[in-house]
């Protein structure tokens, strides 16, 4: 374990305690390095979101962590084992060390309170010493940083476009300068032009603040462009993890190959598309896990 590592997840398993139990994440081990973007690719039901929630201990019953550990190596040298912290320690850890960005165009923001209030309650929780004015100024500064503008503090989520809302989420995730940001399909609901702007903003901010990102999406082409490394998940397991280029050029697992082939190339050859008519379709459709 080197100091380059930020998060070490080992043998992590999560089950949904229903009858029969569903193993959503099975013995996942991975490391997130300081400052890298780690892509987590997979289709719906593969367990990628469950894994991300598990790392933050945000799972709701009937989901339970059945085994494994997730250890966060703070830049101070201190280690935080996520499974052994009590409720109060966990609350202090959340957002301070690791924040999250969700599908912003959907409903990650509370519709009935202003975005300013939602930014400020991060500070009132984690920085109780800050005065009201300081909180407001700092929230405004964050909104300026992501290009929303501090004059939007009093806006409600529905008054902003999908792209704007996602920027607000990013501003919020930045608030405490965390070392890790978990992004769950942050651009899926957005148009491709807006998606590109958001992606560029994330890389700029990362260059400036040096946080690591776990970027979760089913959009493999996007991941290939932005990630340093990519983990491909299927049925709760990581089937392959490698640098983006290696994964793209030399995928070793069949499923990775199949996933890559699912996205026809924009400017290149047709790939798997319509090239081989008459060939029996791959009938093995991924079953969804509830």
């Amino acid at each position: 374990m080197t100091t380059d590592d930020l998060l070490t997840v080992s043998q992590f398993s999560v089950s949904y305690d229903v009858t029969p139990p569903v193993e959503a994440v099975r013995n996942v081990s991975l490391t997130v390095r300081r400052g890298e973007i780690l892509g987590l690719a997979g289709e719906s039901g593969c367990g990628k979101t469950t894994l991300a929630y598990g790392i933050q201990r945000l799972l709701k019953p009937p989901a339970v962590i059945t085994s494994g550990s997730a250890v966060f190596h703070d830049e101070s040298g201190e280690d935080f084992d996520i499974n052994t912290m009590d409720e109060i320690q966990m609350r202090a850890f959340r957002w301070e060390k690791a924040s999250m960005v969700f599908q912003g165009a959907m409903n990650a923001l509370n519709p009935i309170i202003t975005i300013g209030a939602q930014l400020q309650d991060v500070f009132s929780t984690h920085r109780p010493a800050m005065t009201r004015t300081e909180r407001r100024l700092e929230s405004g500064r964050l909104l300026d940083l992501v290009g929303v503008g501090s004059n939007r503090l009093r806006s409600y989520p529905h008054e902003l476009s999908g792209g704007m809302r996602q920027r607000v989420m990013i501003a919020m995730a930045l608030a405490l300068k965390p070392q890790l940001m978990i992004m769950d399909e942050p651009t899926t609901a957005l148009d491709v032009l807006v998606q590109r702007e958001i992606i560029e903003q994330i890389s700029e901010l990362r260059a400036e603040f040096g946080f690591s990102v776990i970027f979760i999406t089913h959009d493999l082409p996007l991941l290939l462009e932005i990630s340093d490394r990519i983990a491909v998940m299927r049925d709760g397991r990581i089937v392959e993890i490698d640098t983006a280029r290696k994964l793209y050029e030399n995928p070793t697992h069949d499923y990775t190959r199949r996933l890559l082939a699912s996205f026809p190339s924009l400017t290149g050859e047709r790939g798997g598309f319509v090239r081989r008519p008459g060939e029996p379709a791959l009938d093995e459709e991924a079953g969804s896990i509830r």
């Binding site: 709701k60 959340r94 509370n110 309650d121 984690h126 529905h158």
Partner: protein, 327 residues
Amino acid sequence: MRFFLRRAAFYAFTAWAAITINFFLPRMMKGDPVSAYLQKNQGRISPEAIDSLRTLFGLDSNKSLLEQYIDYWQLLFSGDLGRSFSKGLAPVTDVIASAIPWTVGLVGIATVISFVVGTAIGAFIGWRRGSRADGIVPVATFFSTVPYFWMGLIAIAIFSTTLGWFPASHAYDKGTQPSFTLEFAGQVIQHGFLPALTLVIGSLGGWILGMRNMMITVLDEDYVTVAQAKGLRPSRVLVNYAARNASLPQLSSFAMSLGFIVGGTLVMELVFSYPGAGKLLLDATTAKDYPLMQGLFLVITLTVLVANILADVAYAILDPRTRQMEA
């Protein structure tokens, strides 16, 4: 601002429509009970009282409908709703005014208590879904399905007849005159306790269940997870993120139930012989006291309207999206 003007126009129209229907209804009645009554009691009613009754019930056959309609509005604005046949020809306005405070006071307080307590309990057990708190659900369902009159009678049988803790009927002891003394207030509370308690118990379950189900829906929303991921204290997530959103639909039901306070508590007022508006309406109906009935209908319609206005205002304050949708 546009939003409020639009709503105001809507309510003004509704009020106008309701009052106009109230004007036409007696004119469509078969027979002429009012003339017959006036005939029978000639000399006992003052000429101007007769005039207003004539206007209210369309007996001025020599006037055009439009003139009658204008006269009718003038009467309403002067607060004259005619004379009650069954209450010794007292002005209808006075009769209603003497009953309304009892109903509004008792039922209003009971409704507010029930809403506040039920919503709080519902929020809590929704928050703790799957825990032992869920045990409240079947109990709440049971009490909300028990017929009210039965519960009222059981309450009288136990707490009044057997234990003698509370009086079984009326709003205050017989023979006392309403006054602003401590003793009288004590009587009112003692008399009101059982009716209020049964009303609260009977309606509590609905509030609990409604709030609990909404909480469970809201707890699955992303913004609640975000609030937890932000490390906020559970009490803050519960109140500011979950319960605030979950209580919005509760609020409209609350306004509706406020609207039904005046007209909708007939059973309670019967069981406890409580001198409120519901009992008054029943008395008026049995006595064929048309002026009183008409006056009560008007008051009931207007309370429902006012309650709806309150709900709209509250919604607009609490949910910024409503304001925008109309803009």
